[in-house]
């Protein structure tokens, strides 16, 4: 499957990918509204997170692992592996907010939703025609979506 691969040699920590993620997962699909309104009212948050270590930066999110630790740990079946698309899918309705996945994922790719007992995790912009918004938004091609 095509995954999103981050390249720390090109990342400048500009956080544009986070903003693109925020917008793509917002109701309004508008950057300003997503940032100024929905972040507060809906607890909208980015699935992507820029990590900084001195001068080095890298933007990380769910790897959609082949054999995901989060799926093994999920007590409700909210997290599953889609054998056709290869995606690690999340069903918000099923999730009970037990944080087992957050504990089990060794890639730190799962966050608690700020307002509800739900999680936030990359869905590879499943419903977005152009594919992941972060990849499209990165000005440096530090995020690549490809088959490896």
């Amino acid at each position: 499957m095509k995954r999103v691969y981050p390249d720390k040699d090109y990342c400048i920590g500009c956080h544009i990918c986070e903003l693109a993620c925020l917008t793509a997962h917002s109701k309004s699909k508008d950057l300003i509204l997503a940032y100024t309104v929905e972040r507060g009212s809906e607890g909208l948050s980015s699935c992507k997170r820029v990590h900084e270590g001195g001068p080095t930066c890298v933007a990380l999110s769910c790897r959609h692992c082949d054999e995901p630790a989060c799926v093994a740990a999920c007590i409700s079946g909210a997290l599953q592996k889609d054998s056709e698309t290869g995606r690690t899918t999340y069903d918000r309705e099923k999730c009970v907010g037990c944080w087992s996945c957050l504990m089990a994922c060794p890639f730190g790719a799962i966050a608690r939703h700020p307002l509800e007992n739900k999680i936030v995790k990359c869905d590879l912009c499943a419903d977005r025609p152009g594919g992941p918004a972060c990849v499209a938004a990165c000005p440096n091609q530090a995020l690549k979506q490809e088959e490896r």
Binding site: D7, G53, A73, S76, G77, K94, G97, M103, G108
Partner: protein, 441 residues
């Protein structure tokens, strides 16, 4: 040619799985990863398709409905070409003839067998424990019984302050029942958590009105002349009036059918690195298995959900011929107590006086946060987080990938928290940004 070439339908393997819990789901997914054609037969004693067993406490608490329990979608078994026999118990295994018999009188042949029969509640020999008004809390049926019961009773005593006992207590409390917990150990959650984390959790429970008694247990369950439970006499001499007792001390491996079949059983069914038992082509996984532990290298029974799935998965792929060993289990638990999240992973209570371990712990009682890191040989081998759990997964990485820490990295891990830049370059590249041919999955 016709004499040497087997017909297509003879090539297909028959996998039989006993039990329909999460280990079984893991096995189905592990088999199907490598074998699309083989026939899979799942035989489960319970009536429901695989459900989130831990969710029975959410059901009892009234937080979710029965329709939210199923672990996979409606089409799951059909889509994976699994023949599901529910409400059916396997009564015997013949390892020589490679067949199992069921209580329905059927005999089912297998090429590969997985025993994923889970655990059964342990009932200690307390006087008065046999008879009416004593309940367990490990199945959907138990939860449904307790839901009906909770409308009729005022008080309940829960014996056992481990995960299952606390969850039962919390859920009954949410149904308006006055609950008292008895825990023989000096603290609750003694297995997976330490003293301070246990105390923070116990405080939350006490604050909502659940009575928590540690260092004490039931000496006798007393009954009236009709045989109904009157109350519990405690080891410290007190008497607690109650109408029901929930025994939730833990589960023991449900290994009787394996033992009867001559398969090697110690505490649980012994399995090798492929999850195969002492009988050829017979595998075991989940709460019933005594499998390898990643950190100690020893074989242990660790009855937790992620291990059950992972063992099921590893047994599945090995039954299907993939020859990929099980990476070993890692104890881990995530439990919340009325909004206070707690997570513990790996070795959290190193043996007292063992100087090969180093412990760094920070407690903030006012904020209700606690962080404990356990190191051995310059590696992180365990941690406990209470309250602030957001970096749990990143801590888990250091244990799971057994990353060697230099003094500097260890210092940063302790003071600034886990960061991906503390990972060895090679691991980072292999997992996050692999060269096209080497993509680690």
């Amino acid at each position: 040619m016709s004499g040497t070439k087997r017909k297509a339908h003879e090539d297909a393997m028959t996998y039989v799985i006993i039990g329909n819990g999460v280990a079984s789901i893991g096995a189905i997914e592990g088999i199907r990863r490598h074998d699309q054609k083989g026939k899979i037969v799942v035989i489960g004693a319970e009536d429901a398709a695989a459900y989130g067993r831990p969710l029975i406490s959410y059901l009892l608490a009234g937080k979710i409905g029965v329709n939210q329990l199923a672990l996979r979608g409606d089409e799951y078994y059909a889509k994976n070409n699994v023949e599901l026999k529910l409400g059916t118990t396997v009564t015997g295994i013949d390892t020589a003839k490679k067949a199992v018999t069921t209580d329905k009188g059927d005999t089912i042949a297998f090429d590969r067998l997985l025993i994923a029969t889970g655990g059964i509640p342990f009932i200690p020999p307390i006087p008065g424990v046999q008879g009416e008004d004593i309940y367990s809390f490990t199945t959907l049926a138990h939860a449904q019984t307790l839901i009906e019961l909770s409308a009729k009773i005022k008080r309940a005593v829960v014996i056992g302050g481990g995960l299952i006992g606390l969850k039962a207590a919390e859920s009954l409390h949410d149904r308006g029942v006055a609950v008292t917990i008895l825990e023989l150990a000096p603290r609750i959650l003694s297995a997976g958590f330490d003293e301070k984390a246990g105390a923070l959790a116990a405080n939350r429970l006490k604050n909502v009105g659940i009575q928590v008694n540690c260092g004490v247990t039931a000496k006798e369950i007393q009954r009236d002349e009709k045989g109904r439970v009157k109350g519990v006499l405690l080891t410290d001499g007190r008497f607690l009036e109650t109408e029901v007792v929930v025994v939730a001390i833990g589960v023991v491996p449900h290994s009787a059918i394996a033992k009867d079949a001559g398969i090697k059983v110690e505490r649980g069914i012994m399995v090798d690195e492929k999850l195969m038992t002492s009988a050829k082509d017979v595998y075991a996984a989940g709460d019933v298995a005594q499998a390898m532990d990643q950190l100690s290298g020893e074989h242990r029974v660790v009855p937790i959900w992620p291990n059950a799935y992972n063992q099921g998965y590893a047994s599945g792929r090995n039954m299907a011929g993939a020859k990929e060993p099980y990476q070993g289990g890692l104890p881990m638990n995530s439990i919340s107590f009325y909004g206070l999240p707690t997570i513990s992973v790996g070795v959290v209570n190193p043996p007292e006086g063992d100087e090969t371990f180093e412990v760094v712990a920070i407690l903030d009682e006012a904020k209700e946060t606690y962080r404990k890191l356990v190191f051995r040989d310059e590696k992180l081998v365990g941690y406990v987080l209470v309250g602030d759990i957001d970096k749990a997964g990143m801590f888990t990485a250091f244990i799971k990938f057994e990353m060697a820490l230099g003094a500097d990295a260890k210092d940063k891990l302790i003071n600034a928290g886990p960061e991906v830049f503390l990972w060895p370059e090679k691991l980072f590249d292999e997992t996050w940004n692999p060269a096209p041919a080497k993509a680690a999955r």
